[in-house]
């Protein structure tokens, strides 16, 4: 947090010539801080539910009961699905699969994008050309089409899904990293570090990477939101994690044909998807404003 405060102060210092907007009343928090806190609260809620899913879920998600497509009641808060399983329990446990795939896949995409983006932006020349052209090929396909193709080729399983999502989002991450690196590497303090005799690896880690963290954090958060959407869409099409384990996209697909009879079986997973996606979008917007990403040249 102190780093953030410092960052803002630094930017103000730099843009001292800019006429200061004189606000008659100052709100105690900036809109970015409000968004950030809201996003973090939503994320914490989701994390707690996901981590303690087996303890929180009232029923075994695979347990069928006699009453199928039951309306919400004290026993089944969100009713039951077509073969009598508790919707709430499936929702809670299903989040686990979806969020696990999402977070691992985005982490992999981030790691790959970071390495490729730093290499491409910092080394430049032929290395840059080769890396960026290869990534352009991946980038040229619509995300969803590519995901379908890879999953269809490799077969739907959790590791394959993770791999697919990671491949699909790596080019975007690499681009987000490369852009600021291109400008940061020409800054004077990087040259100063080189003239001191610092090794290139150390220059990258100490002088380049810290300057590009903010846009990466924001991009990662946005990618998480997109990934949840992609994962659930793949699951909806039957390319998600294989059946016995519940997941949000799969629940939507199963419940679709009984939509008129039991609307809640569709609304519940849809709501969960919206909530998860929204969490990361709110978080990204809050981070964008608080970290002042726009000012990173």
């Amino acid at each position: 947090m102190s780093d953030t405060v410092h960052n803002t102060a630094h930017n103000n210092d730099k843009e001292a010539s800019r006429p200061e907007a004189v606000a008659p009343r100052r709100l105690p928090f900036t809109s970015g801080q409000v968004l950030l806190v809201l996003g973090l609260v939503m994320l914490a809620l989701m994390a707690v539910v996901t981590i303690f899913a087996p303890l929180i879920a009232p029923y075994d998600p695979a347990l069928t009961s006699a009453s199928s497509l039951a309306a919400p009641s004290a026993e089944h808060l969100l009713g039951t699905d077509s073969i009598g399983r508790d919707v709430l329990s499936r929702l809670i446990v299903g989040g686990r699969t979806t969020l696990l795939i999402t977070s691992v896949a985005v982490f992999l995409a981030l790691a790959a994008g970071l390495v490729l983006g730093l290499l491409s932006g910092y080394v430049g020349g032929i290395v840059d050309d080769v890396i960026m052209r290869v990534l352009d090929v991946i980038f040229a396909f619509p995300v969803f089409l590519l995901a379908i193709a890879v999953v269809a080729g490799l077969g739907p399983s959790v590791p394959n899904l993770i791999l697919t999502i990671a491949i699909v989002y790596t080019p975007a991450m690499a681009r987000v990293v490369r852009g600021p690196v291109l400008s940061v590497k020409q800054w004077d303090h990087v040259e100063a570090a080189r003239s001191i005799g610092m090794s290139e690896l150390r220059i990258v880690l100490r002088h380049v990477l810290p300057m590009v963290v903010s846009p990466i954090v924001v991009a990662t958060s946005l990618t998480l939101a997109q990934t949840i959407f992609t994962i659930t869409a793949l699951s909806f099409l039957g390319l998600g994690p294989p059946p016995p384990d519940p997941n949000w996209g799969g629940m939507l697909a199963e419940a679709r044909q009984f939509m008129e009879l039991a609307p809640l079986t569709v609304i519940a997973p849809a709501g969960a998807i919206v909530f998860a996606t929204l969490t990361f979008i709110v978080l990204a917007n809050g981070l964008r404003e608080v970290l002042d990403v726009g000012s990173v040249r």
Binding site: H10, D188, H189, A192, S195, G197, M198
Partner: protein
Amino acid sequence: MMETMRTATGETALLASVRDLSVVFPARRGKPPVTAVDRVSFDIGPGRTLGLVGQSGSGKTTTGRAVLQLQKVHSGSVRLLGEELIGMPSARLRRMRRHMQFVLQNPYSSLHPRMTIAQTLAEPLRVHRSVPANRIRERVAELLELVSMDPAVMQRYPHEFSGGQRQRIVIARALAVNPDFVVCDEPVSALDVRTQAQIVALLQSLQEKLGLSYLFIAHDLAIVREVSHDVAVMFNGRIVEHGSVAQVYDSPGHPYTQMLLDAVPIPDPAIQRQRLRAAPPDLDFARPEEDGSCRFGEDHRRTGTPPFHVGGDGHGVSCRSWPLT
């Protein structure tokens, strides 16, 4: 001590020696390659300062960066302490960097904004392992004192300091590893006039104290005259005149030097107004490809000498880049 060094600038006492240094920026999108630095040669003795002057775009900064091997060199030789730097393996070159340091022009951008002063100053010490880890703090305080700053500020960030203070920190960082040779690239041109004088005085006192050699790059002729022992005038990537401060300033031999000296404003409103009213000297200096024959009537192709005429007193003048009459 300084006086004895000044007189003893023989071949053996050279600290840095640059010969026929050329830097060529490759062709780009239909534009021809640019020769930013064209066969530049000069020597710097221990404890001496060579001032490098010239207008913007004359290749001063590129020369400085090329000498420090921060810029890819096309051809030529740069020897520091007797060792050839061009083509040196990068690991050895990194070790050599403790002998040569760089003070950049802009003190606002040459410090890492998210590192404290202590972290910034400790970096060269860690890189070269010149001080044991438990003594780094001590050395950082010592460095800050060396540049007349309070060691208590070491936990602060660069944005808390003024331009002059930051430039002191930049100088302290350059001196951290006890270099012999410092390239100062326009070290004061981003500062206000009073601060300029302080930084110049600091650089001079450090030279006396530590016996440093400077390559002092600047466009301000008055400051170069103040700090330098020798001066080289650059134009279009070439050194057109080279000599002691007295030789170059008092009896310039090249018309470009003369023009630079004439362009210095005179602090007398009446005279200055008169000068400005007169049309500016519109000298059209020859570009490299338009250079005709030698201005001093020598056939260089026959004699094989470089087109640079050095007198017995060491005052050299180029017979190239003269005005097209």
